[in-house]
């Protein structure tokens, strides 16, 4: 989105006191049955999970906490391991794409968890399996248009702008203040109030400090308990041991994170955006990836052929998603129009020597000044199955008017192609599906990695011309003498 459109959207949101949608369709398909949610509280600065809430996003979560997340104990991850494994297996077996609602900080924790435990021989098989699943989800989250991992703040930012800055939008709490303002309070005031509470898997500073103190106390109690078992355990004023107080505070903290997640989902559904038809295909791609990867325990690509294929696949998916957005979402289409990647044109001529046959040339006139169209650009007629390659772009002489000649490659039949006088939208988002070929090429690259032979290099001669090449230079001089300059 251009800086100008973004700024105007934010001003509008600020003026009306609520978020402004920047898409006409939802880029996310409907939640499948039993979609999961995961919220965490992490240890500040350590990225270790000390509390986790997991469960159906429409139901009650199971909360597990670890009063001392820096120890090697992973018991608090058991519920997550069990739930995630069961849910992913069930989804794939029942043929539905899994869905996981979470936040950016929680996803980062899951990714790190994958690095820590995936190949860790000192942990049990269940945690290694959890790590593999977390790695799989973190990896899936990188694919453009994927439908499995929903990062709440990213999803909302892709669909609305608020009356605050883009940096402030990264705080899920303040972002939600613009989507579901409290009655009697302006969105700005509410956002400012919410900004005082962290929303990235961290506890409030005072609570965190208190837990730190209690943890020291609890550890001391533990050591005392181990060495002097008869010493009485120090209790809090309410009568609870420090460890239990920590666990209560963590439960409270993770519950707040969970509630934010649920509120984000509700706010998103509250936008009532129709689901983009393109998500059906994206769902299928996500399902295929997940069902293939679930049975494997593969590391991230690192060898040249695998990395090349991976980047090419990401680029392909990005182009695919852009194509869907331009085709199905009028807001995105208008933004692309401002960039010159979509333009409206009138069909002012059709040159087709044989009816319904190639060659077929459309002559298009556009009054759009900003055009990203050049000779050779592939263009598709939106809302029709017609595409072709630009052969000429020229000015008509009228200010801001251009003529584009489009040689059609698809849709040359009279019933398919736009008739004379029709006004059509065209976009440069023609997707050439070369993935099969790319996979074949990179497979060969894996078998025979690229190599350049090492040979013994003859040192360069001291003179200007290498004597062995002097005859070749003479040969070239003779040739150039013959060629017209």
């Amino acid at each position: 989105m251009s800086a100008m459109i973004d700024a105007v959207g934010r001003l509008l949101a600020w003026q009306q006191g609520s978020a402004v949608p920047i898409r006409a369709t939802s880029a996310l398909s409907e939640d499948p049955e039993g979609a999961l949610g995961i919220a965490v509280v992490r240890l500040a600065g350590e990225e270790r999970i000390q509390a986790i809430a997991v469960g159906p996003i429409t139901g009650e979560p199971t909360i597990s906490v670890s009063w001392n997340a820096l120890d090697r104990n992973t018991r608090h991850l058991d519920a997550l391991a069990r739930t995630l494994d069961r849910y992913l297996r069930y989804s794939i077996a029942s043929g539905q794409v899994p869905r996981l609602w979470t936040g950016a900080a929680a996803l980062k924790c899951l990714e790190l968890l994958a690095y820590r435990y995936r190949r860790n021989p000192n942990t049990n098989g269940r945690i290694r399996r959890l790590a593999a699943l977390c790695g799989l989800l973190a990896h899936e989250a990188c694919y453009p248009g994927q439908q499995v991992v929903v990062v709440a703040e990213d999803l909302l930012r892709a669909h609305v702008v608020t009356g605050q800055s883009a940096d402030e939008d990264q705080h899920l709490g303040t972002l939600l203040a613009w989507l579901s303002p409290s009655p009697g309070t302006s969105a700005l005031e509410e956002a400012n109030r919410r900004a005082l509470q962290p929303a990235s898997g961290l506890l409030e500073r005072l609570v965190d400090n208190r837990i730190e103190r209690l943890r020291v106390s609890a550890k001391r109690q533990l050591r005392g308990g181990a060495t002097k078992s008869r010493r009485r355990i120090r209790v809090q004023p309410a009568g609870k041991p420090s460890r239990e107080v920590i666990e209560d505070l963590l439960r409270e903290g993770v519950r707040r994170e969970w509630d934010l997640l649920v509120e984000a989902r509700r706010a998103f559904r509250g936008l009532r955006l129709p689901v983009s038809p393109g998500t059906k295909f994206l769902d299928r791609l996500s399902f295929d990836r997940m069902s293939y990867e679930l049975g494997e325990d593969r590391s991230l690509p690192s060898r040249p052929h695998a990395l090349s294929r991976y980047i090419s696949e990401l680029e392909h998916l990005l182009a695919l998603v852009e194509g869907f957005d331009v085709r199905y979402d009028r807001c995105v289409r208008e933004r692309k129009r401002a960039e010159g990647r979509v333009f409206m044109a009138e069909v002012v001529g059709v040159v087709q020597p044989r009816p319904n046959r190639k060659p077929c040339m459309l002559l298009l006139r556009t009054e759009q000044e900003i055009l990203r169209v050049r000779e050779g650009t592939r263009l598709q007629v939106l809302d029709a199955r017609v595409d072709g390659r630009v052969t000429v772009v020229r000015s008509t002489g009228q200010p801001g008017e251009a003529l584009v000649e489009l040689e059609l490659k698809r849709g040359v039949r009279e019933r398919d192609r736009p008739p004379l006088g029709a006004r059509v939208d065209l976009a440069d988002t023609v997707l050439l599906d070369t993935m099969v070929r790319q996979r074949q090429v990179y497979r060969e690259m894996r078998i025979a990695p690229p190599t350049l032979l090492e040979r013994k290099l003859t040192p360069p001669p001291s003179g200007a011309d290498a004597p062995v090449a002097a005859d070749l230079l003479d040969f070239l001089d003779d040739l150039r003498g013959m060629t017209p300059q």
Partner: protein, 460 residues
């Protein structure tokens, strides 16, 4: 008088020396590729004759040694240009283009007797074809149909524009490989976030020659020593800023790179800038008063000024001294933003200048082209905060190296202040990644400081 005579003799001697060095580099490359049958990477400054070099090597291999050669380039326009140059020798050379089935060769090429009918599949390549030319992507998609070592040499033009992931699979096609490119210019376009891949052992998203040097350190690298396009003045400004690891000089004698005007100067800022260029200043900046402009790269005042400068050049009867009068088609206008380019085109049309003749486009499109005179918009003009796009050094390098005679930079005052006020995010890059933003800032700062030091900044 005697001094100027001595200087003239010195200049001739310098020019002869540079020609000898250029010829020496060509001899070295021929020796490596043809005689020693070794792969080679050729680093070239702008306008050093990359295409000419490829043509020479291909001619020697195909015509003298009777061997088959494949030549690839990132863009189809570069492929056509290569074919024109290769085909200028005439029969018995036979060239075939590997081309997408929905494309046709331009008529000048299809009518050339050395050009065989283009094909879209590798298996349809005519056995008579001594040279097969195509885009990197076309060769990539046709790759499974080729056999390894099918060609004696695989040449790649503008190799720094191709990513390793796209070019590496093609390496098996040639028994040896020659990659020719300009390390200072546009990097390959990879549309996804490449940050996570910067820490990998093989940077498949990097320009192919950069990664190949790491993977195969024994491959010799030959640097072309001089630019034939750029004059000495431009080289003295551009080389220290953009090519710190590629020293080069100008092979163009100063006397052949002079611009003059038949009409007298009115003394206004535009004419002062043009007069500076007539005095030998090949890069001159012309600045409007400072003002922040934040409308998607469009600054109507700057666009109008760019159009006025182009018009004034023509109105004053500019001439490439001793050669020819400067026509609209000899002028190129560059704006890094497509929308900015559109506003310049509108301003030019308003001044009755045909935009069919004056080429107005982005640096991406100007890569590989040259014009006698260029008018470029400074990417930091009207900016208070600098983005990665504004700081990119490669794009700015392209903009400043397309001219033969003179480049006029148009912008708004405050560029130095913006550069000085820029706060660099030192920690915001993946481990192992080069700091392109810092490099961009450093390059821009160095260049702008040099222009100010030389008194090349004219204020309106």
């Amino acid at each position: 008088m005697a001094d100027s005579g001595i200087q003239g003799i010195q200049a001739i001697q310098d020019t002869q020396d540079i020609q000898v060095r250029l010829r020496g580099a060509l001899a070295r490359i021929l020796d490596l590729t043809v005689n020693q049958r070794m792969s080679v990477i050729v680093d070239s400054p702008p306008g050093a004759g990359k295409t000419e070099l490829i043509v020479s090597v291909v001619w020697v291999l195909a015509l003298r040694k009777k061997l088959r050669v494949a030549v690839v380039a990132p863009r189809v326009s570069q492929v056509y240009d290569l074919c024109r140059r290769l085909g200028s020798v005439g029969p018995p050379l036979s060239i075939q283009v590997l081309l997408a089935s929905d494309r046709a060769l331009p008529t000048d090429l299809s009518s050339n007797p050395v050009m065989l009918e283009p094909v879209s599949r590798a298996r349809d390549i005519d056995p008579r074809a001594r040279v097969v030319v195509g885009t990197v992507s076309k060769f990539f998609s046709a790759l499974p149909d080729f056999s390894a070592g099918e060609f004696e040499l695989l040449c790649c033009e503008e190799a720094y524009m191709s990513a390793y992931k796209d070019l590496a699979p093609l390496l098996k096609l040639g028994r040896t490989v020659m990659l020719v490119g300009d390390p200072g210019q546009l990097a390959p376009l990879v549309r996804v976030d490449t940050g996570p891949f910067e820490s990998m052992e093989t940077k498949v998203h990097w320009a192919a020659p950069r990664q190949l040097r790491l993977s195969f350190p024994w491959v010799p690298v030959v640097s072309l020593p001089a630019s034939r396009r750029l004059c000495r003045d431009t080289v003295s400004i551009v080389q220290p800023a953009f090519y710190t690891s590629l020293p080069f000089v100008s092979a163009a004698p100063d006397a052949t790179r002079r611009i003059s005007f038949s009409a007298p100067s009115s003394g206004d800022a535009i004419d002062r800038a043009l007069d500076l260029s007539a005095e030998g200043a090949s890069i001159v900046a012309l600045l409007l008063p400072g003002r922040e402009v934040s409308s998607g790269g469009v600054d109507l005042e700057v666009a109008t000024l760019m159009a006025e400068v182009a018009t004034r050049v023509l109105a004053r009867g500019a001439e490439w001294t001793g050669r020819r009068r400067i026509e609209p088609s000899h002028i190129g206008v560059m704006d890094a933003h497509v929308a900015g380019g559109a506003s310049v085109r509108r301003a030019l049309r308003a001044l009755d200048i045909s935009t069919e003749e004056v080429l107005v486009d982005t640096p991406e499109r100007f890569q590989g082209l040259e014009r006698l005179l260029t008018v470029v918009k400074h990417p930091m003009s009207g900016k208070r905060a600098l983005s990665a796009f504004d700081l990119a050094a490669d794009r700015w390098c392209v903009m400043l190296t397309r001219h033969l005679l003179c480049c006029l930079i148009i912008g708004r005052e405050g560029i130095r202040e913006t550069l000085e006020a820029h706060s660099h995010d030192c920690g915001e890059r993946p481990l192992g990644a080069e700091d392109a933003l810092w490099q961009g800032w450093f390059t821009h700062s160095t260049l702008w400081a040099e222009l100010e030091r030389l008194g090349r900044v004219v204020r309106m």
